[in-house]
Symmetry: C2
Subunit: 189 residues, 2 copies
């Protein structure tokens, strides 16, 4: 029932992988969990991807790409403070509506750290390149001031971490954010 082309399947595997890896990280996620979510047998994943690492890599790249596209479309035609608010709004909305993206990011960071620690720099290269694209996507519209962009990204990272820790959005840790980044609503899990 419902056969797909290998390419389409790979696509749905990536989506499922983002979801599962976001929750369990690389080691905490079994390929079986991913396969179940796709609705396909577990060994079939290994016909679509050479191994588990490749699936994780694809999920990481997807996550970076989507965030970059979000930045790009939010900022279209805007500059300076307007651009800043636009990205901040778009990003906070992403986080509240789809926490997977946020958690997958964190998972990606720790996975990179682990890979680098054992001397594997390939994964790191990919992620750093993706991050720099993200950076540059924000950098120009925000005014091309490294200090500004750094501060902006820093806020983003703090938001990630606070949200990951599960601080409810009416907690006082959120007090100090500039209003456009204040999140209203609640992170659903």
């Amino acid at each position: 029932m419902a056969r797909m082309s290998a390419e389409e399947r790979r696509e749905s595997v990536i989506r499922a992988a983002v979801h599962e890896f976001a929750r369990g990280g690389y080691h905490g996620t079994s390929t079986e969990a991913i396969a179940k979510r796709v609705g396909v047998s577990q060994p079939y994943l290994f016909r679509l991807f050479p191994n588990k690492q490749a699936i994780f890599l694809a999920a990481s790249e997807r996550c970076l790409k989507e965030t970059r596209e979000l930045f790009a479309s939010a900022v279209e035609g805007l500059h300076g403070e307007e651009a800043q608010h636009a990205i901040a709004n778009a990003y906070t909305r992403l986080i509240t509506e789809d926490p997977d993206k946020l958690q997958m990011q964190l998972q990606m960071y720790v996975a990179v750290a682990a890979a680098e620690a054992v001397g594997d720099h390939e994964f790191g290269e990919v992620v750093r390149a993706g991050w720099m694209e993200l950076w540059d996507t924000a950098h120009l519209p925000l005014g091309a001031d490294p200090n500004e962009t750094t501060t902006f990204m820093a806020y983003g990272m703090l938001i990630n971490v606070l949200a990951a820790m599960g601080f409810p959005f009416d907690h006082r840790v959120w007090e100090g954010f500039y209003p456009s980044a204040r999140i209203t609503g609640r992170l659903e899990r």
Copy 2:
């Protein structure tokens, strides 16, 4: 040879656990790896701690506590901008000299997120409490302005993430940091 009291052993298990969990995360670290580092048999860990989770929790608490103590001792007697530079310096030095602390932090965040996702809020409570202590330790000396403290912590988180991704410290992503937080040297792994 070299018998220790259970309390002393627990202490060295925690130290080893911080090191190992920092690299592999919860699921990527075997209790055997920890035991090997301690120099003790793997089953003995389960006489010192009820289970693996408890070891991870202890390592997380230790990590938070040490960071808080670092903040507190760096900031002693200082206020405002001076305090800010003092903490920033101390923290960047910690990161360069002992990357375990940094990585353990990230591992802790993703573990909390995972725990919360499956409805276990106990671990989250502990980590959030520890984080708030950390927050408050910095908050007062920095001038008790929520915006200032938020910005300060945000920079810290960005540093964590950039360092975790393995950006060398002469890379342009580090350009935008205020000078006191600029890291010189190189992260050893």
